[in-house]
Amino acid sequence: MTEIFWLIPFLPLLSSFILAIFGRTLPKKYISFQACLAVFASFIISVISFFGLLKISQESYPLIKSLFTWIASGSFTINFSLQFDPLSAVMAMVVSGVGFIIHVYSVGYMDKDKGYSRYFTYLNLFTFAMLLLVMSSNIVLMFVGWEGVGLCSYLLIGFWFEKDSAANAGKKAFIVTRIGDLGFLLGIFFIFVHIGSAEFTAINQAISGGAVTQGLATLIALLLFMGAVGKSAQIPLYVWLPDAMEGPTPVSALIHAATMVTAGVYMVCRMNLLYTLSGTAALVVGVIGAVTAVYAATMALTQNDIKRVLAYSTISQIGYMFIGCGVGAYSAGMFHLYTHAFFKSLLFLSAGSVMHALSGELDMRKMGGLRKYLPFTYPAFLIGAIAIAGVPFLSGFFSKDAILTQAFANKQYFIWILGVLGAILTAFYMFRLIFLTFQGEERLEPEAKEHLHESPPVMTIPLGILAFFSIIAGFIGVPAVFGEKLNWFNKFLEPVMRPGHEVHLSIQTEWLLIIISVAVALFGIYLAYIFYIKKPQTPHQLNAKFPYVYKLLYNKYYVDEIYNAVFVKPVVRGSEIVYDNFDLKVIDGAVNGSASVTGLSGKILSYLQTGLIKDYALVFLFGVILFLGYLLF
């Protein structure tokens, strides 16, 4: 049954295609049925293929299915081929599984929207592109998926394009990630030139065979990482992600939390031999991840928009994944990606449920005390928050702990300290969110309160499923202290990501690290409790004491403004100057001039076309005479 794995991406594509053509005429019920079914079928095939993968020996990894030759130019050919190996299997299951749940949730969430079929067309298309990204067997096809998800992200952020801010946010996301893609594309070109093949297997062979020097590896790895920085919203290209929250909330959950933004992590893991070989590039990945993890967390502290807090939290968590990759613990990074997909989409969907209940309210200052009105959403949100904060035995705890332990074990103490600091902040801002939203006094707008209601089952059941997985998903990657054999996740990924040098810590140190993580998480939660429940006046006192710090954080370090002033304004101004002077005068002048010249010559030439047969024969004869005359002389 494993052979049919290549169907996985194409089912959503087919569905998207049908919806794109017939969507307007189909009944809503059918649209939602088909869209969800396509993704669910992909999920089932992924699971079947996954079990098939377990059965066969590791030597036959990766399974490759070449569908057709895509580009053939000279000796260089690129096949449209898909591959299935442990890494692709994990990603395919996460994408289709979480994707399916979010599709179902969307049925409820988008129920009243007039762009219903358009929404599901895009969402299916996105699922296709993302699956293509994680299953392609060469880097060019991966780039197609990479751009495909970018396109869908643009379309879905700007889904409500009547709103100016949504359209602008879509544009911003597209342009900012494009800067990173430039690096990615250059990286692909360097791979072409120096390795001569785009297939991952060939690239890996070239690297392990010593055909790639360390300098070249660093260059390619850093260029590729540029793409990852853009797509995964790391410093300095993170600015688009918070704005991307203009899109519908399920979209934020699927694209901007669980799947697309983690594509960069997947790419780094896919090319892990390259990063390991380079060393420098790995360090850059780790440092950028660590700095982003803390930096984004600080910005999350002061935001009042519930989705923006979650957006910054996503940036920060992806930073953790990159820490894992940077210190050589690729499977730990993947593990965090996998658990994060569950709890972050749970948090987003719960936030969506809160918005739904409050008729679209996003501002936490107008919430509070929602616990008793939303008996289902509240525990779901709470589970998500506990998981992300790193409280023991929920999924987030295991994955974050794995990353930090590895950072410590590889003697990257600076990164480790940043990681721990980030963990405190994470616990703090998540519980600030919980306390402000669900606990304490009610600060609701009167009319919002009237319509206050729990979401329909089609939305709450997905929450339940995600909450369930947020709790148990971590148990497949239990740390070594509980038993050497228990870390099943690592073992499964081992054929793809052979760790360069296994570092073992003593049992005591590991225990110590675990205790520190737990303590840090609990401390963050406690701090939030003090700040927002016990002594609600503390934040105000702190504001008064350090007004500049608060202002700096609240305005997100003014980075948007700086980018605007440094990059956007000069470019816009410069292009205006060029437009006024060069375009209007030189080019338009030349174009108009040449247009009139071509028009005139066309006019002259068409006089020859008299419609008289004798003239035609004469022109023919003249042609013959000139022709022969040329041959003779």
Binding site: F68, T69, W70, I71, A72, T77, I78, N79, F80, A595, T598, G599, S601, G602, K603, L605, S606, L608, Q609, G611, I613, D615, Y616, A617, V619, F620, F622, G623, V624, L626, F627, L628, Y630, L631, L632
Partner: protein, 477 residues
């Protein structure tokens, strides 16, 4: 391998055409659509045969009829073109008062002529095929008997065609006189073995080129094209724009792929073709700017495309030529299909003004027509873009940079008139009411298949390129 199998595809087509011709007189007028289906059936049988024959090489008549991969590839292109034309015609000929059963028979005769031409290696046999093709074409052009323009087209085509055939035969005679052979390979051997190029042979070759220059409509042998294209029934115009052109280039390819290798590059013939190519690209595109009749625009566009194809001949690159022809087949037939769709009983909408607002009134036709036009203009990700790209990059590899610059400029000019149609369709208020006959599944099937072809070749050209490369590599030299 010397085998009667080499004759099989040809015999099938000839039998089919005779059968259709006979049935025509026995069938009642309302049953004549069956003839189309019968023709289609035979075409499909033939197409299956081509697949079977792909890995074998048959020849007959002492090697003057060769079924190599190149001819099979062209057979396939012709079969697709003719089947599309038949599908386009089924409704059209009854709506436009051209419902004569001979229509299908003549098309099949023309097809057999083309098949003789591409599979033969002797210029005399090629001339035979050329005449079979030409005479059926003259009759096809005048099939709308009551339409004056159609008759005018037929007579113009006939007179100028005979004129051109004369040059061809004269050239053939000179070539035979010089080389004592009518075989392409024999003639080329003569060119190689004689150290000083004899004038007689060169002029002979020149006259043969003129003969084909007429069929493929290159400047200055193109004057008949717009009038004939305008007057002929539209599906036949579509056929003229691809069939005779492809066949002419097939023969030129057989001659020149080898000829370039045995002659120095500064050879007079080379520069002659260079000039012809430049003139064709420029004149075709420039005159097209001023046309307001859709069929005339497409006629001039087909002249311009002959110029691009000539670039491929000059670049000695057979595979880009074949790819261009395959792409041109789909995009041009698609565009003509859209033009044919805009017609009703006894009336065709061919003026640009008729197209105002069509994009919104008939969104499907408008959208697909737009894609075909963009492809003709050479926008990615369509087949037209890749086709131009392959041709021009082959030319750059051969160092023909000035030619490529002119070609790119010419195709820039062409963007204007292609997009003008799109602008009319989407950005002009309709000035007159048009009502069209929409119940035409065969036509929409063609549009769909052409759309598929344009996108398949434009986005996933890989497999086709492999087949083409195989066909080119299988050539004896």
């Amino acid at each position: 391998m010397n085998s009667l199998f080499a004759l099989l595809p040809l015999v099938i087509i000839v039998i089919a055409s005779l059968l259709v011709l006979l049935l025509e007189v026995f069938l009642k007028k309302e049953n004549k659509n069956y003839l189309g289906f019968i023709s289609l059936f035979f075409l499909i049988v033939c197409a299956i045969l081509y697949f079977r024959f792909w890995n074998e090489e048959f020849s007959y008549f002492k090697g003057s009829l060769v079924l190599d991969k190149l001819s099979l590839f062209f057979f396939f292109i012709f079969a697709v073109a003719v089947s599309f034309v038949i599908l386009l015609s089924m409704k059209y000929i009854s709506l436009q008062d051209a419902n004569h059963g001979e229509f299908y028979a003549l098309l099949l005769f023309a097809l057999s002529g083309m098949m003789i031409m591409v599979s033969s290696s002797s210029l005399v046999i090629i001339f035979l095929g050329l005449e079979v093709l030409s005479i059926s074409s003259y009759a096809l052009a005048g099939l709308k008997r009551k339409d004056k323009k159609s008759s005018e087209a037929a007579i113009k085509y006939f007179l100028l065609g005979s004129f051109a055939s004369g040059f061809f035969v004269y050239g053939l005679a000179l070539l035979y006189g010089a080389s004592h052979s009518t075989d392409i390979s024999g003639i080329l051997d003569y060119f190689r073995s004689s150290p000083e190029l004899s004038l007689m042979a060169t002029i002979g070759l020149g006259l043969v080129i003129i003969g084909f220059g007429f069929k493929i409509a290159v400047v200055p042998f193109h004057m008949w094209t717009p009038d004939v294209y305008e007057g002929a029934p539209t599906p036949i115009t579509a056929f003229f724009s691809i069939g005779p052109k492809a066949v002419g280039f097939a023969v030129l390819l057989r001659i020149f792929l080898y000829y370039w290798r045995i002659t120095p590059e500064s050879q007079a013939i080379f520069w002659l073709l260079w000039i012809i190519s430049v003139l064709t690209m420029l004149v075709g595109n420039l005159i097209a700017l001023r046309q307001t009749n859709l069929k005339r625009i497409l006629a001039y566009s087909s002249i311009a495309h002959a110029g691009y194809l000539m670039v491929a001949i000059l670049a000695r690159d057979g595979s880009s030529l074949l790819f261009y022809l395959a792409a041109y087949l789909f995009m041009n037939l698609g565009a003509f299909a859209a033009v044919i769709a805009l017609s009703k009983k006894g009336k065709e909408y061919l003026e640009l003004d008729d197209y105002a607002g069509v994009g919104f009134k008939y969104p499907w036709i408008g959208a697909t027509f737009t894609i075909f036009l963009l492809s003709l203009a050479g926008f990615p990700p369509t087949a037209g873009f890749l086709a131009k790209f392959y041709v021009f990059s082959a030319a750059v590899r051969e160092g023909l940079v000035p030619l490529v610059i002119i070609g790119v400029l010419a195709s820039l000019i062409s963007v204007f008139y292609y997009l003008r149609i799109v602008v009319y369709m989407y950005m002009r208020e309709p000035s007159r009411e048009i009502a069209i006959h929409l119940e035409n599944p065969a036509l929409f099937l063609v549009i769909f298949l052409c759309l598929y072809g344009v996108l398949q070749l434009g986005i996933f050209p890989g497999n086709i390129l492999l087949i083409i490369r195989e066909a080119i590599n299988a050539l004896p030299f």
